[in-house]
Symmetry: C2
Subunit: 353 residues, 2 copies
């Protein structure tokens, strides 16, 4: 890369010193100017040692390459957009960690878009992506830009590669990375059945959610396989938050006939439910077993420690980033990746009395 | 903004249709082309309604403005870097939410840099920032690029505005936003003293951490004010994680003489400690009171619910973003903002027996 700013003589920084040139960086790093350019534009083509020296020299000298000029030449932004439904939800922390570390290792930065239920934000980020401000996007929000969750509406005209993570986007012709939610929910329900439970309540996610539909199918699969009747009044609506777990607990306590086990389709709901039952004097797991889903940080520290489905969140983030990088480099990439879940047995589930 | 790409006739998209021009967007949105330009370059100068129509029309037509050409003219990236020590830590979720929503409302996007203890990542993002790839940065990592935590080393030559959030950076000439950690720790210790506790253990953060130093001062202030002796062996080292809370619990149980109260300087440590005591048959709060710090999501759902210091995390993120935006617009801005904390009394603290 040559240095438009320096050639034009735009050459004083705030302190009045001469602005650093690419030559200054090269001299300090003891490499050629071509190596400095490559370290910035195509870091994978430079040795780690040389790159570290160049970056240190840039930081020391305050050298400012002209990113716009560089971008005009390369047509690349080296930025990836990550679209979240709700950044405040701690479930995403480890997923973002996995995405970021993988993108960084490949020379990409991560821009966060938190939709937060705002159509205006969604329209903005759709336009932002369509405008080529990023090289690709990872969607954790369960739908394409411009479409509703059920696939209605015309998708925005996006030409950069997209990948769906965690929440599958049915019908979208993009790679999808996640877990087998149906199989995981079936596995947990079968475990409860194997302990002798016959009346197993189910606390659901939001009705329109793809994850919810799959998990509910898995719950019913297991009941059917065990010849247990499906009872509609054992299905309690939730939305994955702590608050709806508390509400589900209150609803259960008000009933004459408690189920012996409750399968909550998120750990947050399970923790809220357990706390509500405990405060009402119902012992978990002696009187009611409670299972969760996700294996968030606090599942192991909950009281009692939560029996749940472990989702490999960091690995999910890494896998999605890797598929996107493959697409960007024209390498063959998987259309669909399902990572393994594990049933983690802790203390919140026991055989019925 | 005019449309370099369209004027040059770079004009077929993948489907072979003519690429959309700014005129197509203007026609569909029923605004002038100048309004389309403004909606992208200076959104604050366009009404919300017009902007929404323009964004919708851009998404519909697939219009691609040339961001590099635009950036060359404006010298702005409209991007802010947020530097985190550890993205996997759920403490940051709500802070990031507050930052993102405030930046978005002002027309800025958020790029995440997760340092993750890697000097190579730090050098990269220092160079990235020095190179003007972002318009400013919010530092949550407790030190300037190029310096150690204790202020040693020459800071990188960064000319864009910086703001420090949560972890103050002593000696750095940049605005600092956070809470009064010393006063908050004193408040909690005084509360424990007021209930009659005389032997109050303290589970610390990492020794080099600015937050830790302040909180430890607050703990000692309260002991001194109450004429209680400071006992070095009641200080148990931790690093804010659940695991060190568990380790602190084990250390306490092994002692002949339990303190009647333990002040943990993070909720994660408090939750790990409570679980360890409970499993060992020590009742919280009857035998030992345990207090936390932060008021994370699970503090209220812990068993027993955690008495802690509430940090207004979303508001902290909003405040830091606002100060940075003020700096970017040449408006007067605060040098130092301390947001109020609150002592939240729940069930993990009681008077000693």
């Amino acid at each position: 890369m040559d240095d438009v700013a320096a050639r034009k003589g735009r050459s004083k920084n705030r302190a009045g010193e001469r602005a650093a040139r690419i030559q200054d960086v090269a001299r300090l790093a003891e490499v050629s100017t071509a190596t400095v350019s490559r370290a910035l534009a195509t870091p994978e083509r430079v040795s780690k040692e040389a790159r570290a020296r160049v970056l240190a020299a840039i930081a020391r000298t305050g050298y400012v390459p002209n990113p716009a000029a560089r971008s005009l030449r390369s047509q690349k932004t080296n930025m990836i957009l990550v679209v979240l439904p709700d950044l405040a939800n701690t479930f995403f922390s480890k997923i973002l960690h996995g995405i970021e570390e993988t993108l960084f290792a490949a020379g990409y930065g991560m821009i966060i878009s938190d939709l937060d239920g705002s159509p205006a934000k969604e329209a903005h980020f759709a336009a932002f992506t369509a405008a080529g401000r990023v090289d690709g996007a990872i969607l954790l929000n369960g739908h394409l830009f411009g479409q509703s969750r059920d696939g209605k509406g015309k998708p925005a005209n996006i030409t950069v590669p997209l990948v769906a993570l965690c929440e599958a986007i049915p019908g979208a012709d993009i790679p999808q990375i996640g877990i087998d939610n149906r199989a995981a929910a079936r596995k947990m329900t079968e475990f409860l059945v194997s302990l002798g439970h016959k009346r197993i309540a189910y606390v659901s996610g939001p009705a329109a959610n793809v994850l919810e539909k799959e998990r509910f199918r898995g719950y019913r699969d297991a009941l059917r396989a065990a010849n247990l009747p499906f009872e509609q009044d054992l299905v309690i609506p939730g939305d994955y938050t702590l608050e709806t777990g508390v509400a589900a607990g209150r609803q259960l306590i008000a009933r004459a006939n408690l189920p012996t086990a409750v399968f909550c389709t998120s750990d947050e709901m399970a923790i809220g439910l357990i706390r509500t039952l405990t405060l009402a004097g119902v012992n978990v797991p002696t009187e009611v077993s409670v299972a969760g889903f996700d294996d968030i940080e606090f599942a192991a520290a909950a009281e009692p420690a939560l029996t749940t489905i472990h989702q490999p969140r960091r690995e999910l983030g890494q896998a999605a980033a890797k598929v996107l990088i493959d697409l960007l480099n024209g390498r063959p990439s998987a259309d669909r990746i399902l990572l393994e879940t594990a049933l983690v047995k802790r203390d919140s589930v026991a055989p019925p009395r």
